[in-house]
């Protein structure tokens, strides 16, 4: 029988922040909280800089060409979180070689904070250049504070 649960908040019984969900194979479970993206953002980097859409993102700053900082509304627990991003191709002499890199060049340590992540859009074929992109997206996985 089909069923529908109407609820505003899901909370684990044993551990408030941990709920298991049965996976596609109908046997193994996955953790609901750990599997949820804690933040995502879609930016318009070229022309007038703007946030196209976002989740748990309080602001986005255009620091310069291809240089963006996005800030989380609710902080992650620490700097040990996973990010993944992609951008569209534009600008420079070889726009199809754009990629996003996290700001921490030469540091050997994390510069990211629990709320802020600064990244550059670099061009692999256009020495040391940064490029703006019409579409920039970033996803965050990790533990909320």
């Amino acid at each position: 029988m089909a069923s529908q649960l109407k609820v505003d908040t899901l909370t684990g019984v044993t551990t408030a922040g941990s709920i298991d969900v049965t996976g596609e194979g109908n046997s193994t479970t996955t953790n609901l909280q750990q599997g949820l993206s804690k933040s995502w953002v879609c930016l318009k980097g070229s022309d007038t800089f703007a946030v196209r859409d976002s989740f748990n993102t309080t602001s986005a700053t255009d620091n310069g060409v291809g240089d963006y900082t996005t800030t989380r509304s609710n902080a992650l627990a620490n700097g040990d979180y996973a990010t993944s991003g992609i951008c569209s191709a534009t600008g420079g002499g070889n726009p199809h070689y754009n990629f996003i890199v996290e700001n921490s060049e030469n540091s050997g340590t994390k510069i990211r904070t629990t709320t802020a992540l600064r990244t550059y859009i670099l061009n692999a074929r256009d020495s040391e250049s940064t490029n703006d992109a019409p579409d920039y997206s970033m996803t965050f996985m990790g533990d909320l504070a």
């Binding site: 089909a2 949820l36 996973a82 070689y97 921490s104 692999a124």
Partner: protein, 128 residues
Amino acid sequence: MASILRVNTLTDASSNNSVPMATVASGSVKAWADADMTGTAGLDDSFNIASLTDNGTGDFTLAIANDMANGAYAISFGFQNQSSNLDAHIRLFSDGHKLAATVQCQKMENNSATDGDTNTVMIAGDLA
């Protein structure tokens, strides 16, 4: 007391934001990792990752704790540059290294394998 709730759809109390449980299960990331390959390689944090193996410079294998159904899953990466080298990326080590239980990856900078402080991986797909 632990409990199991069997339900097809989750909806907020106002009957908005409805989401089928199938979407919750399929739409959740099944594993992620933040790996530090500098010095003694290790996992800074992870979910559903049993271990990290350092295979050499820039080359690491993640063992998935609860296996994926097969190798047909989506994987994405994030990273920091260790130098001003351009042409940096993380890639699958080679064809055949994205498996249900393990995935082998390689961080590249300027066409050379390079260890990095932050190598992040996300896996979305079907659990076994």
